[in-house]
C-alpha cells in the first residue's frame, strides 16, 4: 500500500463528520413525510383514474343507450301530430339527453310496477331426456367455443347419408379452422350466454335462414348455463315434451336492422293499443333501451329499438287493456 494514497485519504478520515444523528433523523422524517405524501397522491390519482376508466367502460361498452322510456307517459302532442296520417297512433318520444336523470327515476317506478305475470323467458331446461332427443353434444359446443375467433363463421351441414351432423369453423378470410361432427341432430341456429349475449351463430350450408320463432334450450356447460336457440320447426317440436315450448310468443311479421343499429320490427297490433314496451335480456334483466312504436291502420304496429347489439332480446308488451305479450328478438 502506498503511503502517498493514505496521505491523500487521511484528510477524509480526519475530517470531523458534520452530519449528526439528530440531523439525519430530522432529514429522514422529512423524507418520509414527503414520500408518504407522494404515495397518497399517487394512490388518489390511481383511484381517480380507475374510477374514470370504470365509468367510461360502463358508459361505452354497454351499447344500450342511456334510458329513455317515455312510453310510460305517452306524448299527446306527438299523437296529435301523427293522427293526421294514421288513425290510432301512439308514439313514444325519444328522450333528450339532459333528461336522463328523470328517465332513471321512471325506470325505477317502471320496474316496481312491472306486472309479475311475465314469467321468465320460456326456456326449455334441457333434461337428460331432451338432451338425448336433440342429441345435444356439450363437448362439441365447448370445443367450438374454445377455438372460435371473433370473425369466424360456423356452418352446419349433414354428411352424406345423414350419418352425422358436422359444423365447420372457418376464419374470416375463408380458411378452414376446424370441423366438429356429432351424431345427426338438429343444429341450434345460435348459441348465447344465459343473458342472450351472442357466443356464435350457426349458418346452414344451404343458406336457409332461421325463422324468428326460436326455442331456447338451456344447458349447463363448464362456462355456466348457455342457451341453444333452435328453429321452432315441426321436427324440433316433435322432439320436445308437449309443454316444453312457449305458446304465447307474438309472431313477428317482418324485421330488419338499420345501419345505425336500430331494430325495426313489425307486429300485429292486436285488439288493444300498446301501453308499454320493455326490453329484457334473455335471462329477464330489463335493459334501458330507447324504443318507440307506431300503430298503423292495417292492424300492425311498427316497433323501433335503438342501438341494439348482437344478442337475443325478450321484448314484453303491455296493452292498455292489461293484457301482456312478448316476443323474442334476435339481432344478428
Amino acid at each position: 500500500m502506498s503511503s502517498e494514497h493514505l496521505d491523500l485519504l487521511r484528510s477524509l478520515r480526519n475530517e470531523k463528520v458534520d452530519i449528526s444523528l439528530e440531523q439525519s433523523l430530522l432529514r429522514a422524517d422529512a423524507l418520509e413525510t414527503r414520500n408518504s405524501k407522494a404515495r397518497r397522491t399517487m394512490l388518489a390519482l390511481g383511484l381517480l383514474s380507475a374510477m374514470t376508466i370504470a365509468i367510461l367502460v360502463r358508459t361505452y361498452m354497454h351499447t344500450e343507450p342511456p334510458s329513455h322510456d317515455h312510453s310510460y307517459v305517452p306524448s299527446t302532442s306527438a299523437n296529435a301530430r301523427l293522427a293526421d296520417a294514421h288513425a290510432s297512433v301512439t308514439v313514444a318520444k325519444l328522450a333528450t339527453p339532459h333528461r336522463t336523470v328523470a328517465a332513471s327515476a321512471i325506470k325505477r317506478r317502471f320496474t316496481a310496477s312491472m306486472p309479475s305475470s311475465f314469467m321468465p323467458l320460456p326456456v326449455v331446461i334441457a333434461s337428460r331426456e331432451v338432451q338425448q332427443r336433440l342429441a345435444i353434444d356439450i363437448n362439441a359446443i365447448e370445443t367450438i367455443l374454445s377455438i372460435i375467433g371473433s370473425g369466424d363463421r360456423v356452418v352446419s351441414a349433414d354428411s352424406a347419408g345423414k350419418t352425422e351432423t358436422c359444423l365447420s369453423i372457418t376464419c374470416a378470410g375463408g380458411d378452414l379452422r376446424n370441423i366438429v361432427c356429432t351424431a345427426p341432430s338438429p343444429s341450434p341456429v345460435r348459441v348465447t350466454k344465459a343473458d342472450g349475449e351472442l357466443l356464435y351463430d350457426v349458418e346452414r350450408v344451404d343458406g336457409r335462414r332461421p325463422s324468428n320463432a326460436l326455442i331456447a334450450i338451456r344447458v349447463s356447460s363448464s362456462r355456466g348455463n348457455i342457451l341453444l336457440w333452435y328453429d321452432a320447426d315441426s321436427i324440433l317440436l316433435q322432439k320436445l315434451p308437449v309443454d316444453g315450448y312457449p305458446s304465447t310468443i307474438l309472431p313477428v311479421q317482418s324485421s330488419w336492422l338499420q345501419p345505425d343499429r336500430t331494430a325495426v320490427v313489425d307486429l300485429s297490433s292486436g285488439n288493444s293499443p300498446w301501453q308499454n314496451v320493455s326490453i329484457h335480456t334473455a335471462d329477464g334483466k330489463p335493459i334501458d333501451a330507447a324504443r318507440q312504436w307506431v300503430s298503423h291502420q292495417d292492424g300492425t304496429t311498427e316497433l323501433r329499438i335503438s342501438n341494439v347489439r348482437t344478442a337475443t332480446y325478450d321484448v314484453r308488451i303491455t296493452r292498455k287493456d292489461g293484457s301482456m305479450e312478448r316476443f323474442i328478438y334476435v339481432v344478428r
Partner: protein
C-alpha cells in the same frame, strides 16, 4: 401500522453505533453535504423497513452499508439520467480546521472522477478501515478480486492527484 423512526429505541441505539461511519461514507462518496444527508436519510428509512429481520448487531452494520450502497447506486443513476451534476462543488464550511476541509474537498473532487466501484472500495477500506472480507460481504465477489480492484483504485487516485498537481 408503520413504525416511526423514534418509536424503536433499539433501532436508534444500533444506528447510533454506526451513524458516524455511515455519514463519513456518505460524505466521502457524494459531492455535497446536502447529497450526503439525503443518502444517509434514505438509507435510514430503508433499513428501518427491514429492522425486524436484522436485529443482530453485526448483521445490522452489514445491512446498513449494503443498503447505503444500493441507495447510492440508485441516486447515481437517477442523477445521471435526470439531474446532471452542477458545476459548483461543495462550499467549504467555516470550521476550526479549514486546511483539513480544503484537503478533504479536493480529495472528494478527485474521488468523484473515479468510477463508482473504485470510489466505494477506497472509502470503505482506506477511510472507514474495513477489512476486504467485510467489504466483500456488501459488494459481493471475492477478496482477491476486491484487493485487485483496490490496487487499481489507488493507482487511479494517484494519477488524479498527479494530474491535479500538473494542472
Amino acid at each position: 401500522m408503520k413504525i416511526g423512526l423514534r418509536d424503536d429505541p433499539a433501532f436508534l441505539e444500533a444506528l447510533s453505533l454506526h451513524h458516524d461511519d455511515l455519514a463519513r461514507f456518505a460524505r466521502s462518496l457524494t459531492r455535497s453535504r446536502d447529497d450526503a444527508q439525503d443518502l444517509v436519510a434514505e438509507t435510514i428509512l430503508k433499513t428501518l423497513e427491514s429492522w425486524n429481520s436484522v436485529r443482530d448487531p453485526q448483521a445490522f452494520r452489514t445491512y446498513l452499508f449494503r443498503t447505503a450502497h444500493r441507495v447510492y447506486m440508485r441516486q447515481q443513476l437517477r442523477r445521471r439520467l435526470f439531474h446532471p451534476w452542477p458545476k459548483d462543488l461543495d462550499i467549504v464550511a467555516s470550521d476550526p480546521q479549514p486546511d483539513v476541509h480544503t484537503d478533504a474537498s479536493l480529495v472528494r473532487a478527485m474521488l468523484q472522477r473515479l468510477p463508482a466501484q473504485y470510489r466505494e472500495c477506497l472509502v470503505m477500506i482506506d477511510v472507514l478501515g474495513w477489512t476486504p472480507a467485510e467489504v466483500v460481504e456488501i459488494h459481493g465477489g471475492t477478496v482477491g478480486g476486491l484487493k485487485a480492484r483496490l490496487l487499481r483504485a489507488r493507482e487511479a487516485l494517484r494519477k488524479e492527484a498527479m494530474r491535479g498537481q500538473h494542472e
